[in-house]
């Protein structure tokens, strides 16, 4: 049936739905659009409304409807409510601030904002608040502000949200709404209250001044919230026994913003937060939504520790909830708080670990992230067991991240070398194809530095290769190890487990197998060839190795070919160099990432937390004189502050240290250095640098100047703040650089004997 122009849009929808194919639908729509277009051209007022409605339906199906934009404007200007309703709807769907046409709406909206019927005013407010451009907002902000002061709650609530939109579009206009906010919270009407809280929240979030101004509302907000909780059943606002959860949550959020970084406000809301936290019904989602917001607020303001523990415990209970949404939200929140409230979150560790077995993918991911955040030296064995089990069974999308996490955690907290190697082996064998590319060099470095484990490691890796050569990172690390430690392998030197019995030929079989296997990537082949070559100085079957190497001299793979040619040359022309070139790799230095506090590992142990003063610092040495010295300090106490002198005499430069405790944080020591110069020439471009061991944190404030005047005619002072939460013996490495008599000077010193009073 041909769709009739005079039919309403219902008939059109019915008709279009009878189309059996996309093509049929398209044909119907094209016919209808053509008819509608001609109707628009005829300026037919009677049918404009239903035609725009039809157009909106077709637009939803995905067909273009831009030719209806102007028609929407005409509908908005009509005096019929039906027309206005569809017109505004059409404007919101078809127009946006990108089109110039939308500005034509401004005048209509302005008129309708002042209309005698509130439902028309409502349409205008809604449209403006939904899609008003910056220009429209500027033009109409005054009208919105007027309506914000009306006693008509239907309009007031809409005006408040419209104001929010105006502020979002034109932040400078925020000030003009300030007077109208005066009595917003005295409203009884929940709609107005809710939107007022939203408006206040927006203003406080955008302006620190507004935030300060509105802080005084905290008691009032607390009262409103209290009434909501304590009041009896209110049919109008009840949701499963809770009164107006939407309003409760918005108030909690505003309290959060007001209480953040303010002790007094935080204290004023302490009780109500505790009350909400303990009294809210948790059987349905709505109660948990409120609890969730409460927890977020407690964690963000300056709450007392009891309240924080309460909040974390709520999250802990959430973890046990049957509803997976609640579990997910709990894990996300715990992840946010794990840094600041680490110990409290640790208490829920076993529940968190159980979530690794959850069926929901999003929950598993959060649980994994949180689990890694909770790993420490005490729980490493137990946690790693769970995480490795997770690695075995998790979806491929997790394996790369999980493997990286395991490596990181193992590196930080491995209880023993053997455990560390075993853990790495486990990851390589179970998730070997998912580990990141940079794991291979990192692992090689780790293995190199674990000297006493070489025999064990190479044996285990060899056995793994016998099982499976498909996982490239595993194969690469194994090849490398066999190349390095093949001699230990064949001589059966393993102490950690039963030594394997294997011959040189068997080992070479395996490595050659890697070269020919089509499972091996080019990179892997490179590793294998090099490993075979290295064994020429460790094995006796040199001839076999020479043969292999010469074959690959004509390999299609350019990289392989180059290596083979070079190794061949090594055999033929540079055989005397071969032993030296292929000898065991020395211990590798870890690159110093933060200067003098990192130490060269000379014995393969994991980094000590305090620098070992016997080793020289890793600092680039300039051409000029450099010395490293330890200094003794003498102590005086004068007037209650710790006063210490230490003299660093170097070409007449003298440095004094004075100490005091910071107020109010007793963990911070405030050290001031005073630099003076007894020589006849100024010391210019003077820079003082200091470094402390890992458990400390250091903050260097700006120096008083860069020139240490000659002949003690003044000094350079600089304040150092040292945070020492673990109350460890303070040590400091000091570096001074300056220019004296035209030449650069550098002096390094270690100060180890700070008096106990300065750091205890």
């Amino acid at each position: 049936p041909v769709p009739s122009l005079h039919q309403g849009h219902l008939e059109l929808i019915r008709t279009i739905r009878t189309a059996r194919t996309q093509a049929e639908e398209r044909e119907m729509i094209q016919k209808e659009c053509a008819a509608i277009r001609s109707s628009f051209r005829e300026e037919d007022n009677t049918y404009r409304c239903r035609n725009v409605a039809k157009l909106l339906y077709m637009h939803m199906l995905g067909y273009p409807a831009h030719f209806g934009q102007l028609e929407c404007l005409k509908l908005i200007a009509s005096q019929k409510f039906t027309d206005k309703r569809i017109g505004y709807l059409g404007a919101m769907l078809l127009l946006d601030e990108r089109q110039d046409v939308h500005l034509l709406m401004t005048n209509c909206i302005k008129n309708d904002l002042n209309h005698s019927t509130q439902y028309v005013q409502g349409l205008a407010l809604c449209t403006l608040g939904c899609m008003g451009s910056s220009e429209m907002c500027r033009d109409l902000a005054g009208e919105v502000e007027k309506l914000l002061k009306t006693s008509n709650s239907y309009l007031r609530k809409k005006a408040a949200l419209c104001a929010v939109h105006v502020i979002r579009k034109v932040p400078e206009l925020m000030e003009m709404f300030l007077p109208a906010t005066k009595n917003l919270l005295s409203e009884k009407n929940h709609g107005v209250l809710h939107t007022s809280v939203v408006l206040l929240t927006e203003m406080c979030e955008r302006s620190p001044d507004m935030l300060l101004h509105f802080r005084k509302l905290v008691p009032q907000l607390v009262r409103i919230l209290k009434n909501l909780i304590m009041s009896g059943y209110s049919p109008e606002h009840d949701v499963s026994g809770i009164s107006d959860p939407f309003l409760q949550v918005r108030i909690l959020r505003l309290l959060r913003i007001l209480g953040r970084s303010d002790d007094d406000s935080s204290e004023a809301m302490n009780d109500i937060l505790a009350q909400v936290a303990t009294n809210t019904e948790t059987s349905k989602n709505v109660g948990n939504a409120i609890l969730y917001e409460t927890v977020l607020t407690i964690m963000d303001i300056k709450s007392e520790s009891g309240l924080r523990v309460l909040a974390i415990n709520i999250l802990g209970r959430f973890l046990l909830n049957n509803d997976k949404n609640i579990r997910y939200v709990a894990l996300t929140s715990l992840l946010k708080t794990v840094q600041t409230d680490h110990n409290a979150v640790q208490r829920h560790r076993s529940t968190i670990v159980d979530c690794l077995k959850d069926l929901d993918v999003s929950i598993k991911r959060r649980a994994m992230e949180l689990s890694f955040a909770l790993v420490n030296g005490n729980n490493i064995r137990g946690m790693m067991k769970e995480l490795l089990y997770f690695l075995d069974s998790c979806d491929p999308e997790f394996k790369a991240d999980c493997a990286s996490g395991v490596f990181l955690a193992a590196e930080k907290y491995a209880p023993s070398k053997r455990w560390h190697i075993d853990t790495i082996m486990r990851v390589l064998t179970t998730a070997g194809s998912y580990v990141r590319d940079d794991s291979v060099p990192n692992l090689i470095q780790l293995i190199t530095n674990s000297v006493e484990m070489h025999a064990y490691t190479v044996q285990r890796l060899y056995k793994a290769l016998l099982d499976d050569i498909s996982q490239q990172p595993l194969v690469q690390v194994s090849s490398w190890c066999i190349g390095e430690y093949g001699d230990l392998l064949v001589s059966g030197q393993c102490e950690e487990e039963e030594p394997i019995q294997v011959t040189e030929d068997e080992v070479l079989d395996v490595l050659e197998g890697l070269l020919v296997s089509n499972l091996s990537t080019p990179v892997t082949r490179g590793y294998s060839l090099t490993a075979i070559m290295k064994l020429s100085t460790r094995f006796s079957s040199v001839n076999r190795i020479k043969k292999v190497v010469s074959i690959y001299g004509s390999s299609i793979d350019v990289e392989l070919q180059q290596r083979a040619v070079e190794y061949n040359a090594l055999f033929k022309k540079y055989d005397h160099m071969r032993p030296a070139l292929l000898e065991r790799m020395p211990i590798m230095e870890k690159t110093a990432s933060n200067g003098p506090t990192e130490i060269v590992q000379t014995n393969g142990e994991t980094e000590p937390s305090v620098p070992d003063t016997k080793h020289p610092p890793l600092v680039t040495q300039p051409a000029n004189q450099v010395t490293a010295r330890s200094h003794d300090i003498s102590v005086f106490t004068i007037d209650g502050s710790f006063f210490v002198t230490d003299d660093v005499f170097k070409n007449g430069l003298k440095i004094e240290f004075t100490f005091e405790r910071a107020n109010p944080n007793p963990n911070i020591a405030v050290i001031t250095i005073h630099a003076t110069n007894t020589t006849e020439d100024d010391m210019t471009e003077f820079v003082f640098q200091a470094a402390v061991p890992k458990t400390f944190q250091l903050q260097l404030l700006s120096p008083s100047s860069n020139i240490v005047p000659a002949l003690n005619h003044g000094s350079v002072t600089q304040v150092i703040r040292v945070l020492n939460p673990q109350k460890q013996q303070l040590r400091m490495r000091v570096k001074l650089t300056y220019t004296h008599k035209g030449s650069p000077v550098q002096d390094l010193a270690e100060v180890n004997n700070f008096p106990p009073q300065s750091w205890q």
């Binding site: 019927t117 939107t195 959020r253 969730y292």
Partner: protein
């Protein structure tokens, strides 16, 4: 509840309602709708109702044959968003009497009118079901008269 968009679509991915609370170009809207339908329809049956997409939180819930899907700022309360979606469904249900997908298809403009009384600029404007229903009823009545009367 700062919502960026609210979409209703069927199990076959057919769009039944689209409300955008931020200015988005037409092409971008189409892409977002495609992404949402693909992601949501691709979820395993007993997954949680939350997803991440770009820097937004996506909250969705299935009611009969319709998926209600909204995009929120990352700091929003997802559990409350579920309550917002649920409240909208309740409002539709009250208005249409046992609402089903066909009601939304044939009376899409009514669905929008109800939504526009519930949310404004992506935020909840009225928390009482009764007040909201009365406003819709009064607005519908106004459609019956040919000239809008003065309300004051």
């Amino acid at each position: 509840m700062t919502m960026h968009f609210l979409l209703l679509f069927s199990r076959q991915g057919k769009l039944r309602l689209q409300k955008w609370f931020t200015p988005v170009p037409e092409r971008e809207k189409k892409k977002i709708v495609r992404d949402m339908t693909t992601m949501v329809l691709g979820r395993k049956p007993r997954s949680c109702n939350f997803l991440h997409w770009k820097d937004l939180k996506i909250v969705y819930k299935k009611y009969a044959s319709l998926y209600f899907c909204c995009g929120l700022d990352a700091e929003e309360n997802e559990l409350l968003a579920l309550e917002v979606l649920h409240r909208y469904v309740e409002l539709l249900d009250k208005y249409f009497g046992n609402v089903c997908e066909l009601d939304i298809i044939f009376n899409f403009e009514k669905a929008y009118f109800i939504l526009d009384e519930f949310l404004l600029g992506g935020e909840v404007q009225e928390t009482s079901k009764q007040v909201l229903s009365r406003s819709i009823e009064a607005s519908d009545m106004l459609q019956e008269v040919s000239v809008i009367p003065r309300s004051r």
